[in-house]
Subunit: 197 residues, 2 copies
């Protein structure tokens, strides 16, 4: 895969938003919408883990035992909704997801999966040793696992990459509000259009 493309034009306002809202840890949380196998939508909060190297791909992590793993296998399209509370602006980022699990053949991406595991906190890592998410609640003892090895991601640890094709940026501040649409064409070039809020 060749993802090393010029930095997309929406990266600059998104980087600014991340910087201006950095005092709030939840500014790195966004809502990831996917489609279930029955055609209904699913939506949950996930943590932004940065961009993959010099690319425009957003990094997320996922437990292969979770429902979203199966949903993404079936339908890889997603839309992120990312609202920044201090600057009052929203980014909607639509794109295709790739699952980089323990069996993914690309060695570069496998390295990225390893690095993402190492970058996690102990608290983040230990959750992958917890009982099956979403199943009826296990006893407290089942959650008392020791710290997971930072050097070796477990089988159920999966790196998730979102490759954006459309970004809708809305600033609530402004009278009227400001809104832009960024679109990627088939030649991987981005266009920018000011649109009505």
């Amino acid at each position: 895969m060749n993802f090393e493309l010029p930095i997309a034009p929406w990266r600059s306002p998104l980087g600014r938003a991340l910087h201006r809202n950095r005092s709030q840890p939840y500014s790195r949380y966004f809502q990831l919408a996917t489609v279930q196998t029955d055609g209904r939508p699913a939506n949950r909060t996930v943590v932004f883990r940065g961009f993959l190297g010099d690319t425009n791909l957003l990094k997320i992590i996922v437990d292969t035992r979770s429902q979203k793993f199966d949903q993404i296998l079936h339908q890889p399209w997603a839309e992120i909704c990312w609202y920044f509370t201090i600057t009052r602006e929203q980014f909607r980022i639509a794109g295709q997801l790739s699952l980089i699990d323990a069996n993914h053949p690309d060695s570069e991406l496998q390295k990225a999966r390893q690095q993402t595991w190492q970058d996690l906190s102990d608290n983040g890592r230990v959750q992958f040793a917890w009982p099956h998410p979403g199943k009826p609640r296990d006893d407290q003892e089942a959650f008392s696992s020791s710290v997971a090895d930072p050097a070796h991601p477990p089988q159920n640890f999966c790196l998730l990459l979102l490759d954006p094709v459309q970004v809708d940026h809305l600033e609530l501040r402004g009278d009227p509000q400001n809104r832009w649409c960024y679109l990627r064409d088939n030649s991987q070039n981005w266009s920018t259009t000011a649109i009505n809020p």
Copy 2:
């Protein structure tokens, strides 16, 4: 329609979250995921407008000119993701949407649409007189409409109701985190299950 059912068991923790996070105006914003006509997900921030009377239906508003109006006509299922930043908890609320537009035949729901319009701020109302949302940006003058009449909702003002069938409540505080699943059966009864985070 008979929506007057007992208050659902998830209303109590949701009410508590709204109360404890009330100092932040954005605690009444949530992310609404729907499915587009091409089968891909869409996701955007909307404002919670309270519950419809004594029911468990969540009120949202929508401009009939917006893309989500057409999406919902085609596929009425939705999932709300509602993250509360002070108490660090998330509610995922899945259910079916109903569009109560100017032509809806139910007079009670038409009254609710009128009341919701009256309850809006002037700033909220004036946006329905703005140029077509999502189209290339119009001149500043096109946004300089006078205050909209609080007594008469315009044709493009639509009340949107979400009728929940499943609620997933996650508390990040807790070691391990606490999570419950609320499910509505065909007899309109709710069950509550503690599940693994």
